[in-house]
């Protein structure tokens, strides 16, 4: 593995079920994440994914790629365009730093509206990959 390596993209269909299941699994009962009518009253065209779900998906993207031996150390994300039902988010990643067994990956999740999430993940690589 080298700095500049790209991770294979992961496409995530943004379903209503994913948005609601993610919100409830993260204990986030804000109405904009499960009630379309109230979301519209608040000026949003539909319900949208909560940040905790985005965070979970970014973490999954990294450990899916590096394997169960990889340990997440830091996840820093910023949200942009919301994930609305019916969209698809494509996560891509680039290795931006490598120091021994510690790697840093820049992650972008793009949907039909633009960048939903941009962020940086720091992880400890599994032993076999780090050597």
């Amino acid at each position: 593995m080298r700095v500049g390596d790209r991770l294979p993209p992961l496409e995530i269909p943004i379903t209503r079920t994913l948005i609601v299941a993610g919100a409830i699994a993260s204990r986030d009962y804000q109405d904009v994440h499960h009630d379309a009518e109230l979301a519209r009253q608040k000026g949003s065209p539909d319900i949208f994914m909560n940040i905790l779900t985005t965070n979970g998906l970014v973490g999954r993207y990294i450990t899916d790629h590096f394997g169960p031996g990889a340990v997440l150390r830091k996840v820093a994300i910023r949200l942009g365009a919301p994930n609305y039902p019916g969209d698809t988010m494509t996560l891509t990643g680039t290795v931006t730093d490598l120091d021994g067994a510690t790697a840093q990956v820049r992650v972008v999740g793009a949907n039909g509206l633009g960048h939903h999430v941009t962020g940086t993940v720091t992880l400890t690589l599994p032993e076999e990959a780090g050597s």
């Binding site: 009962y29 979970g56 973490g59 999954r60």
Partner: protein, 295 residues
């Protein structure tokens, strides 16, 4: 500094939770529900010796449907202050987490949080408001397990302006035939009755020979992008920037200004082949536009 902002900054450094306690011990069912929702099949989160997904950190501190009972007044006061100023909507914008030790089923979660900063008033695409950043230390059985910095925007939603209609073409006796053709989905080029030179836009006389006589030729619809600009600013009602405005060279040799559709604005190129089509922009108006890409 505005009076409100001055008031808001007095909350910087104030705790929002002191020794908050997670409503549930770290537990297998909640981990499983999380993994199911995320589609995460990582074996590290399952079976004997399982750990919780690190990104689940904040979930253990959430108040859930019954809300927070141990939150200090500072956060609610700050929220009320912002609500009162009209910043009633909320959206999370940033989350930065550091994981110092894995959380395992049975761990008892406690947390302390502090309002780290309140931004000056900012105007964003969503509306105008203030960013509020909190920092939380999360402990498992008393031992620091992670830190969580969280930023939200409390804002007044930007009023959605009713979408205007496209400007009407100015139709007069010199160009009425052109628009009448558009109404029948025909792009008509004027041809000089004297010298046969084609012209577009329509004019009362020929620039070459001066003859006022003319008839029309229907454009076949094929063309290429001769030149273009991308419109970003200023936005006009009924237009959704950025978009490409192009000078299209028709197969017949004359040029006209139009829009390129079917291609992202930043993929329009000089020389790109395009094909005429008619776009109904509102019930009263149809316009000739050009579709790029696969022609």
């Amino acid at each position: 500094m505005t009076e409100l902002y001055e008031q808001l900054t007095t909350y910087e450094g104030r705790p929002t939770s002191t020794s908050g306690v997670g409503k549930d011990l770290v537990n297998t069912p909640m981990i499983r529900h999380w993994c199911e929702a995320m589609g995460d099949t990582n074996p590290a989160y399952d079976g004997p010796g399982a750990v919780a997904p690190p990104t689940m950190l904040q979930a253990w501190t959430m108040g859930g449907l019954s809300g927070h009972t141990d939150r200090s007044g500072a956060y609610d006061e700050l929220s009320a202050l912002l609500d009162g100023a009209g910043y009633t909507s909320i959206v999370a914008t940033d989350c930065e987490q550091e994981y110092l030790r894995p959380l395992r089923p049975g761990d008892r979660i406690t947390f302390d949080a502090v309002i780290e900063s309140v931004s000056p008033r900012k105007t964003t695409k969503l509306g105008t408001g203030h960013f509020v950043t909190t920092r939380m230390d999360i402990r498992a059985d008393g031992q620091l397990a992670g830190t969580h910095r969280f930023r939200i925007l409390k804002y007044a939603p930007a009023a959605r302006e009713p979408k205007g209609t496209r400007p009407r073409p100015v139709i007069n006796r010199d160009n009425a035939g052109f628009w009448e053709g558009v109404g029948r989905h025909r792009l008509l080029i004027q041809r000089c009755g004297g010298c046969g030179t084609l012209r577009l836009p329509w004019l009362p006389g020929c620039n070459d020979c001066g003859s006022p006589e003319w008839d029309t030729v229907e454009a076949c619809g094929a063309g290429t992008v001769y030149s273009y600009v991308v419109m970003h600013h200023p936005p006009f009602p009924a237009f959704d920037p950025p978009y490409a405005v192009a000078l299209i060279e028709l197969a017949e040799g004359v040029r006209m200004i139009s829009n390129v559709v079917g291609v992202p604005y930043d993929k329009v190129r000089i020389g790109m082949p395009v094909q005429l089509e008619f776009l109904r922009v509102d019930p009263e108006l149809e316009l000739p536009v050009f579709r790029g890409g696969e022609v």
